[in-house]
Symmetry: C2
Subunit: 690 residues, 2 copies
């Protein structure tokens, strides 16, 4: 169901405010046929029949929780029901994904082989044995990432006039104490009692349970119990996990030794600043805190006005206990975060109407409790999002993700259930992307209320507030303390000025307190101080990139060994390949002219003049996602010089004058022109072999 509905999203988006064309250029005829088949397969009544009982099972507990809440049942009972709800939800979701037709799945090993072999990325320090959770981006991955960040900056910072900042990774302990990270940013860990080897507790339980389930000799009752454990594991605390480890006698998988009870391990990398050793610091786990501690300066920069948004692109660090899943869970990563500061009593957004017709797939908390699948709906009609500003950013996030190459049919926004949210958050929607690892959270969109500013304000005794104009002036009585400097001077001599600060302090109080008394005067105030709410979209750019790579991975029909990446030209690491048909030196001046023509338009290109047939060289450039290819052949020599231009995805070619090349490729890359338009304008070229 999800997928059929989602197709409408694609069309709607392409017609919507963000798109300029009715058909995105990467949907060529061939792949289009394949995709619609895929969607038809997903909507079969057979599949829906299999899912129906699971949906009912979820709804049963959704309804139960609603009833419990309505009747004011004890928190413990509700928590228990929520745990069961989540377990049933998880089973439903896994079944949904597992029923996806074979055409939808793909060979992850093949993709990983390509990415490693062509150095998109690889484990860091591999000649030293490698470090898990650390990855280096090679030329292709680095350029793809840089292009995605460049688009992000254009799409958000430039388009919205955001205040971009660049703060340090090193962060003193008191800052992260105030934000709550020192106390709460932790995972449960168990240790081998003899060797001290560490395991993430939930991973250990998962692996041990799966081993039992796959063991043909194991007891069936135990298997059923452990299946239940797996479904509930996400909600387990240390006591639940200890109970499982003890009951099933789980041991260290490497030594068979006993394990310690789960202990909290803080996920921040510790360090220290300066030589003394007593200035404790951490590498930041998110970039957001750098924005919060600069709030005052940023507000000032915005001439004291609300709302405004600040943004930051930078590194985040998390010392995962045992990272897995490639780029999905890493220890050092690039984040793009926005903190939009807004009046808590008015979270409307002036540009909301511009995105209101953007169709998105939403999976609301309510849908989740009812066992329903996600809904395709325009953000303007989606009443479930807490406020316009949050909705606006969700729509803009959707547009960005589709622009850089996420398949909109594998993208949804899932609302956090009440108990999933941080205690301070008011509403939270994760942009989740379907990959071979399942639905992966790639962007969080949260209304963080005024939690962070209040915490830093309290920790530093600094006002982090904005002034808001009152609709009408308010009359208040104030006491103004005027110091008698003659007396103060006598008493305190040169310190008298400092003592007089008392007066300043009392003045500062005048907006908050109505103090009346014999010496008070009456005054009108026109402003009040408010702590802004914060709406935060937070992107894990490495995860988005991985999803884009999966969604772009293709195999040529009829030649499944020939894989390629159909990356959007906008983000493709290299825009154009240049291939001389032969090594004959006569072609060199033309190759040189092609280079100059492409450089003039700042187009990245790669010349492949190595040995090998032209077809083999094309395959090599297709593999790394170069969307266009220029071939210089002997026909090119006739004046005026011409070249052929090849569209990698469709493998079709046109022939055009060399002097027009830069302009055409530039238009194709920036999507001002699509391949169909180029084909209409220039004669088709039939290659002898490809």
């Amino acid at each position: 169901m999800l997928f059929e509905i989602a197709l409408q999203t694609v069309i709607a988006v392409n017609k919507g405010p963000g798109g300029k064309k009715s058909v995105a250029p990467r949907f060529t005829k061939k792949s289009h046929v394949k995709l619609s088949e895929y969607l038809r397969n997903m909507a079969t009544p057979e599949i829906e029949a299999q899912l129906a009982p699971l949906r009912t099972a979820v709804k049963e507990y959704g309804d139960l929780i609603r009833t419990l809440k309505a009747n004011g049942a004890p928190k413990m009972d509700i928590d228990k029901a929520v745990l069961e709800l989540k377990a049933r939800k998880k089973k439903l979701e896994e079944t949904e994904v597992s029923l996806a037709p074979k055409e939808a799945s793909f060979d992850r090993l093949k993709l990983e082989d390509l990415l490693k072999r062509r150095f998109f990325y690889d484990q860091s320090f591999s000649i030293y044995g490698g470090v898990t959770g650390l990855y280096d981006f090679g030329p292709m991955g680095c350029a793809l990432k840089a292009n995605m960040l460049h688009e992000w900056r254009k799409h958000f910072v430039l388009e919205e006039g955001m205040l971009e900042v660049d703060c340090t990774s090193l962060t003193p302990e008191p800052v992260l104490k105030a934000s709550g990270h020192v106390d709460r940013f932790a995972d449960w860990m168990v240790k081998d009692v003899k060797t001290g080897e560490c395991f993430r507790a939930d991973h250990l339980i998962k692996n041990a349970a799966e081993k039992v389930i796959l063991d043909k000799k194991a007891d069936e009752t135990m298997k059923t119990e452990l299946r239940d454990v797996l479904a509930r594991l996400e909600g387990f605390d240390d006591k639940d996990m200890l109970e499982v480890i003890t009951k099933y006698n789980f041991k260290s998988p490497t030594t068979g030794n006993d394990l310690t009870p789960p202990i909290a391990f803080n996920l921040m990398f510790p360090s220290q600043i300066g030589p003394t050793g007593d200035f404790k610091a951490f590498l930041r786990p998110e970039t957001a805190q750098g924005i919060f501690v600069n709030f005052k300066r940023l507000l000032e920069f915005n001439q004291g006005r609300l709302p405004f948004a600040a943004a930051q692109i930078g590194l985040g660090f998390r010392n995962e206990i045992s990272p897995r899943q490639g780029l999905i869970r890493v220890r050092e990563f690039t984040m793009c975060e926005i903190e939009h500061f807004v009046d808590p009593s008015d979270k409307s957004h002036p540009k909301f109407r511009k995105v209101s017709s953007c169709a998105m797939v939403l999976l609301s908390a309510c849908n989740q409790m009812d066992g329903q699948s996600a809904q395709s709906i325009t953000i303007g009609e989606a009443g479930v999002v807490a406020n316009e500003t949050l909705g606006y950013y969700m729509a803009r996030t959707h547009m960005y993700l589709v622009k850089v190459g996420v398949d909109p049919r594998r993208l949804r926004f899932r609302q956090h259930l009440n108990n999933e949210m941080a205690h301070y958050a008011q509403d939270c929607w994760d942009a989740e992307i379907l990959t071979s690892y399942g639905w992966i959270e790639c962007v969080g969109n949260a209304d963080r209320s005024c939690y962070d500013l209040k915490q830093h304000s309290r920790a530093t005794n600094t006002k982090l507030v904005a002034e808001k104009k009152l609709s009408e002036p308010r009359a208040i009585d104030i006491v103004e303390a005027l110091a008698n400097m003659t007396i103060l001077g006598k008493e305190f001599k040169k310190d008298a000025k400092k003592v007089n600060l008392l007066g300043t302090l009392l003045k500062a109080l005048k907006y908050q307190k109505n103090i009346s008394g014999p010496n008070s005067t009456c005054s009108n105030v026109h402003v009040e101080e408010i702590t802004p709410s914060v709406i935060e979209p937070s992107f894990g750019i490495g995860r988005v990139m991985y999803a884009v790579l999966e969604h772009s991975f293709r195999q040529r029909e009829g030649d499944e060994q020939r894989t390629f990446l159909a990356l959007r030209p906008l983000v493709a690491p290299i825009k154009c390949s240049v291939l001389p048909i032969s090594a004959n030196e006569r072609l060199n001046p033309i190759i040189e002219a092609v280079r100059e023509e492409l450089s003039k338009y700042d187009l990245s290109y790669r010349v492949d003049d190595s040995a090998g047939s032209i077809g083999r060289r094309y395959a090599r450039t297709d593999e790394i996602g170069i969307p266009f290819g220029v071939t210089v052949d002997f026909e090119s020599e006739k004046k005026p010089w011409t070249v052929t231009l090849r569209h990698a995805e469709s493998m079709e070619q046109i022939r055009l004058d060399l002097t027009e090349l830069g302009c055409v490729v530039s238009a194709l890359v920036s999507e001002r022109m699509d391949w169909t338009m180029a084909q209409q304008k220039y004669p088709r070229f039939e290659a002898k072999s490809d």
Copy 2:
């Protein structure tokens, strides 16, 4: 002398391969007059007369060292003479800078006030009391930096087809042990014996000595001695410093307590990866090592061919003992590094002729030993640079720095003296920029030979070599060990295959060893394995940025309080301001059209519709380096809509159709058009007040 010669550089550069125009657009008439005066002042015979004896004093020791070396004098004697040479060089240089005319100096406090007030950058975590050596970039600094990095990527990575990578900051200890950082990347530190407070030993001596020198009551002999200490301090080791501290009885400046002898403090930030606590790591002190450890993959990506260059933009970290001098010495900073791998026996560069006419100011080691000032010379004529590749990068570095706004008359390339270079380096030229802190090293250009690759190769037992085609095949005798699998199989059973690796190992040896014997065969080899040399340009982008800000800082003639930044449009944080002449709502549709027009061309802009005269608002936009300003006035309403466009540096205005605005500003920003050309094309507009 330096400055007069350097003027020729400006002209030569503007005519040279990098420049498109004969006059850089930022040299308006007014500032031009001022600058030539400044240069004339520098060349006075009076100044030269004051410098002459200092030059002779330097030359005396330069000659002495040459003689000592020629006569094979003991190393200790040479080292002593070098120390004296450096002290004399330093005195000469400081006098040169101090004799610069007043027009050349500027009010650093005024600039710093501007940069802080308009949030270009500020100390990090200031609401928590701040951390020395850590800075956050606000919207203006962040955009300036992002634009400088974007230009860097275009100028180097794209233009030269470099392989850009993006490696992690977290680096395991063994990697930095191999590179030499664990053992040698340290500064000398002394501690207060009672409180444990730490001081950088050379800073402590400098401050204490300066205090004595300024003390009117202090002994004159002691003052003379301490002046000598100051001149030599840079070359001091721990023993020299201990001697000074003991002799002059220097104490802790905060408590007056005794100090420990100098101890080495490693400047890398320590951390650890994973939960066990025994995986020691550091934050990288430079990005270069990430490239070296990926050498094999990069060579493969380049299809095994030399030469090629890899580049990286990323963070570096140095745990300075007591950082000072604002952005010049910080603990976390952005670096841009290039590692160009080349055959050690052929360091020619195919594009060298393209830059050979680039005029640069070079201060060779020889000039330094002779007490001579720097020379303006084209890189093609400069015989002193070790090889073409190094020279090519120096010229490209020069072009980049000038492009982003470094004043070429305050830029020089200084060659390291023999004893200044790392022991593995073959030649090294620092791009130094003259700021109010003196000549600051901003870019290092070094020939690092094959040191790093060899170190990592040794540490990991991995071959880090390239294959080089021999000009003619070489006949060698090789022993090929063919295992007798029958015997091995019997003996080792299923491990036989592993044992057979012995044969593979012997095969790998065949290129290195001529082994002849009864079982050897004769074979022709066509390639040999070489460890490439590395040429490394390494940019500290924060330092370059600070220099650009100093060089761009201006005061309006006749109104010295009105300061502004004449940033190059290419890197200016915001390209255009938009100012409605009044708050009248009739102008709103035109403002909206201006916004759309500028967005269409991806031009960043800032609307200032705050209260205040237009002149005051202009001053505010000039201050943050916005090069162009659009004003919407009541004249604008006549169809077709027109606006005025103002050039901040000259304060001149033209009037043009709104539909032409984006195209014109875009051309001005990318420097395809200069202001003079714009003035010729569009009618001049005389503002009533400014």
